[in-house]
Amino acid sequence: MDTVLGFARTLRVAGVGASPDRVEAMLAAVSALDVLDATDVYWSGRLTLCGGPDDLERYDAAFAAYFGGESPRPVPPAAREVQRTVTTAPLDPGPGEGDGDSDPELAGQASADEVLRHRDVADLTGAEREQLRRLFALLTPAAPMRASRRRRPGPHGTVHAARTVRRALRDGGEVTRLLHRRARPRPRRVVLLVDVSGSMSPYADALLRFAHAAVRAHPAATEVFTVGTRLTRVTRELRLRDPDKALTASGSAIPDWSGGTRLGEVLKAFLDRWGQRGTARGAVVVVCSDGWERGGTDVLAEQMARLQRLAHAVVWVNPHKGRVGYQPLTGGMQAALPSVDHFVAGHSLAAFQELAGVIQRA
């Protein structure tokens, strides 16, 4: 028993969430098998303590280490700390960058907000950014709706047999009127793919704030991934209520912050791992990127076509589209546009509010 508890501790250090009830299950499993047989112990632990394919590799390593006599190497906390500060840096505007030089135009609060709504987030001063953050927190994007098989009572639709019978009973067995029920619309899934590569860094903070607002509005029906040189799922981090905490958490989850872009390949990874199996199926997929592609544009075109076949609608948000005289001339944009249903701007709060409308109507 001590052996099992010690092993569970080792596993938790290795990153497998071996909770007490799971450990209890392992003890039961070991006693149902042979305590002295290494294979039986291996399987009883693996079947009870692991909860996903990602756990299995760690489990195998920890098992070999623990029952082989070595202790596994924990990740030094110092290294983690360093990584966090590095990756979250771009989320905050640089200190002193325009601090204090408040624009004389910002006289009345209401009109200032109005002006700010239309300003390009890349050109803002630190103080303006701070103000915009508060406005972002008020953004509640509505989810697009779809029909579902669930029903609810309503004045029209198919006959609601259960209610009709109960009503008939009250009237002495006479069906005096038919009660109906109709389909209950359900929120359609929204998937946001946010480009966090170097060229997008002035907008990444705003885009993630928008994503956070979307997740907050519909936690079960929204998925957020960041794309750059690799794919990172940040939905879980963005579920935190406080926007700043959520952004810090997702910042530390993103390993490729401000790196290059390999949009086509990352999109392929998304579709292989998540999209094909259901996440993108029937969803409104929003790609937030300027389309600067370092990889080949053929891959991007191919994957975008695949995405459009799976998704209900594909929305492409390009911050540069808000600029006067913008033409989608980059290779990436050219490759992607044929498979995009809605091509919109995403440079200011007003543009994001518009985007929320596009998503809702998609």
């Binding site: 909770s19 098998l33 399987w43 079947l47 996903g52 579902s148 047999a161 259960a162 067995g173 199996r277």
Partner: protein, 305 residues
């Protein structure tokens, strides 16, 4: 033909001495589990815990539930999950048509019963339509297959958790149904989305991978005894190679079986590139995958065995 000559079938009551004995029993039904899967199934039976099977499509998750029902001699109840699945489709529903007829009949017979008695007679067991979960509990010991649980939505998962924790279902109008022996529950997931941890914690978790070469050959030989040994091996080898190609849909055992059957039906003795190309539709289900395999040097994939 006296009854005394009939030997008790091992495991007929769902009790096996160990994973090996269960594996041997499963093999008689044509299902060849590996060590981990046999242990998982054995523990699920011994510990009365649901078995949560995850893995690519076509690795034999659903087939395991069928095989387990066969070796334990228990009835199998299958609940196919889908988005929007409701409790009334999984547990029970009232047969409203018959209830109304009953009402009218009572009225026609001028039954003097008061409303309360009438209502009680209306919510009688004979007007209850049992759906898979209730069936599995009422008919326990049984095998309950909750297929593709990842397709159902969160509310249904929470509901399922409740049923699987105490194996009882309460019907307000009738009372509580409790299983004497908890059914052997097999949940499958293709991992289209992450199933809630609370549900997984109730279960034994097993990731079902594609079988290795020898096991796949053994499975194909067992299921398709008419196909020659040589063709079987070549199909297994080519299928294993296809799985390494990063395809949109890597072929599972089911596809390997389809392929071998298709080749056998065409009278092929071995897997030469031409006949392989013609039957590729049995293994590959995406145009992109087919194009990709065609573009490769075919000799590298087929034949040469």
């Amino acid at each position: 033909m006296s009854e005394t000559t009939v030997l008790p079938v091992p495991g007929a009551d769902g009790v096996f001495a160990g994973p090996d004995e269960l594996a041997a029993a499963l093999e008689t039904t044509g299902y060849l589990p590996d060590e981990g899967l046999a242990t998982a199934a054995f523990l699920a039976l011994a510990m009365h815990r649901p078995l949560f099977l995850e893995g690519e499509a076509g690795v034999g998750k659903t087939a395991l539930a069928r095989a387990l029902a066969e070796v334990t001699g228990r009835p199998l109840y299958r609940l196919q999950c889908y988005e929007g699945l409701e409790a009334s489709q999984a547990l029970y529903d009232w047969d409203f048509g018959r209830q109304l007829l009953h009402l009218r009949a009572a009225e026609a017979a001028h039954a003097t019963a008061d409303t309360e008695t009438l209502e009680a007679s209306l919510y009688d067991r004979r007007f209850l339509l049992a759906r898979p979960l209730l069936q599995a509990l009422e008919d326990s010991p049984s095998v309950l297959l909750v297929d593709e649980v990842d397709r159902a939505d969160d509310e249904f998962e929470a509901f399922l958790l409740e049923v699987l924790s105490d194996f009882t279902i309460s019907i307000p109008e009738l009372g509580t149904v409790r299983a004497q022996t908890p059914p052997l529950v097999v949940l499958t997931s293709n991992r289209t989305r992450e199933v809630h941890d609370a549900l997984k914690r109730r279960c034994l978790y097993h990731w079902l991978a594609h079988p290795d070469f020898d096991r796949e050959v053994a499975i194909l030989r067992r299921r398709l005894p008419d196909v020659t040994d040589r063709l079987t091996r070549e199909v297994a080898r080519a299928t294993a190679k296809l799985r390494t190609l990063d395809l949109l849909k890597p072929p599972g055992v089911a596809e390997a079986m389809d392929w071998a059957t298709a080749l056998h039906t065409l009278g092929a003795r071995d897997l030469d590139p031409d006949v392989a190309a013609r039957t590729l539709g049995a293994v590959l289900k995406y145009r992109e995958d087919t194009d990709r395999v065609h573009a490769m040097a075919r000799g590298a994939l087929f034949g040469g065995g």
